[in-house]
Amino acid sequence: MRLKRDKLMPILFIMPSVITVGVFVYGFISWTGFISFTKWNDVLPNYTLIGFENYRKLFANMRFQIDLRNTLVFTVIFVISCLLIGLLLAIFLDQKIKSEGIFRNLFLLPMAISFVVSGVIWRWLFNPGSIQLGNIGVNQLFEKLGLNFLTCGWYTDPKIGIIAVAIAAIWQFSGYTMALYLAGLRGIPIELREASAIDGADKWQIFYYIIFPLLRPITFGAIIILGHISLKIFDLVVAMTGSGPAFSCDVPALFMYDTTFRGNHFAQGASIAIILLLLISLLIIPYLISTFRKEA
């Protein structure tokens, strides 16, 4: 009798969470999926099914095509820069640096700040100024340092708008990658390096043959985390630039918001959300399965 109760209680206690997640995550995703196949592109719900019509329209939409391209550019720049900066800073901080703690805390501080806050600040920093004002923000700083060739239109320039947003995101997340790598480096037994040094390996060889391969799981995890953040990016873009000139800073999450909540095209918005979810699932599900396998 007691045994039975002991088996039941844990299940009883986890059930509320399981049901809640079941409904609010999986149920709602299915609901959104259903909406994306309907005609509900007006204020009032209309659940007439029209198949893949919303998806067909979506991929034919110029703004969405620009968004996909922007997402690709943003993701590549953001993920690679964060990995490189993070690794570089972690390796440097691991060299018995004086006041390592101060550096580390400053590098990580942006992680504590809301995307909206950083969006507001970077909007002013990357404001290119005007003929009346002259250079302001970062451009003015470059001018003062004699680095005039670096001044540019930032997010007002359709060619590089999305890169300006990526820089703000790199500012926010590269410290995080540094922390991941630093934890990884600290986890490598010192004996391993010493042994290889005794075997005659120089510093570069130790990095190349011992340390980098051991950091590979961290790189893999960081790519998943950063990649899914960049696919979801929304707050930063809204606060910093909005869609930008000719949608040059636009991203799918913002397009979804505009379509759904400003344009009342609910079914069309739902289709954007589902595409976004599919892209993220491509990254996350293999990651979750591999974690699950390891532990099972």
């Binding site: 995703i29 501080l109 806050v117 899914h228 599900i285």
Partner: protein, 281 residues
């Protein structure tokens, strides 16, 4: 004594990156403290000649004459929202973590993975049904509604944090008390809960920061300015053409202040939450 050039180079690069990371903070603090007569955009980088907190006052209280709302009301909204949401989601996380580590059953790992997925989804993919449901429950547009949303979508991360923490609590302790006749609740009450302080610290600090910093849910669930959280109010303040830029920047600093204080004083726990969001076990 000769310092090798590589070491100088390392320090130089570290300092350079420090500049990159603190420039926005520098501008925030600097601009906030300038008087209106010297806040011109073209003198953005200059140090203030005297201390003046007028920008903060306007960002906090707003200005009837200028026609914009201050952030004070939404600062309090965020506080009333974050405190209950943080506590409730930590309680859920603790119980889930306890079950998933000390009372594993057939399928419990699968359940954990399924819960975890909820942490990664783009919330756009649930937001339309969410709004419809909140309207049905008559909590759409209210702070309780927003609390509910944060508790629900906080379940995955708080479960993960507690699960990773309880894994470090020796299972032998639990097994021994089972033999001694302690039951599910008794073990939680007398063994697990008293050991949980670090877990609660990490989970609550993580949830505090991420709920305070949330924008999407606040934007969509509370369109009414009277119940908006501070991030949404800041975005409105900064998106308005009638608000001077120094007031916007002061508002940004006010919005960032609570998480920054948490980071400064409880950074150790914040960092632990950060690492657990990515590295399992």
């Amino acid at each position: 004594m000769k310092i090798p050039t590589t070491r100088i180079l390392i320090y130089l690069i570290l300092v350079l990156f420090t500049v990159f990371y603190i420039i926005p903070m520098y501008i925030m603090i600097l601009t906030g403290m300038k008087s209106f007569s010297e806040v011109g955009l073209s003198t953005m980088w200059n140090l203030p000649r005297s201390l003046n907190f007028e920008s903060f006052r306007l960002a906090w209280l707003g200005s009837a004459k200028g026609g914009f709302r201050g952030l004070s009301g939404s600062f309090l909204n965020s506080l009333w929202l974050v405190i209950p949401a943080t506590i409730i989601s930590a309680i859920f996380g603790s119980l889930n973590g306890y079950v998933l580590t000390k009372w594993r059953f057939y399928g419990s790992d699968l359940i954990f993975t399924m819960i975890l997925f909820g942490m990664f989804i783009p919330y756009q993919s649930i937001i339309i049904p969410l709004v419809l449901t909140l309207q049905k429950l008559h909590v759409y547009g209210t702070i309780p509604g927003l609390i509910l949303v944060h508790v629900i979508y906080g379940i995955p991360i708080s479960t993960l944090i507690f699960r990773n923490y309880y894994i470090t609590v020796p299972t032998e302790m639990v097994e021994a008390s089972k033999i001694d006749g302690a039951n599910f609740l008794g073990i939680y009450r007398w063994i697990i809960f008293p050991l949980s302080t670090p877990g609660f610290a990490v989970a609550m600090i993580w949830q505090f920061t991420s709920i305070w910093n949330d924008f999407l849910f606040g934007l969509i669930v509370t369109p009414n300015p009277a119940s908006q959280p501070i991030t949404v109010a800041l975005n409105n303040l900064a998106g308005s053409y009638i608000v001077q830029w120094n007031v916007q920047i002061a508002g940004a600093l006010l919005t960032a202040l609570p998480p920054i204080l948490v980071y400064i004083f409880l950074g150790k726990f914040f960092l632990r939450g950060l690492m657990q969001g990515s590295l399992k076990g």
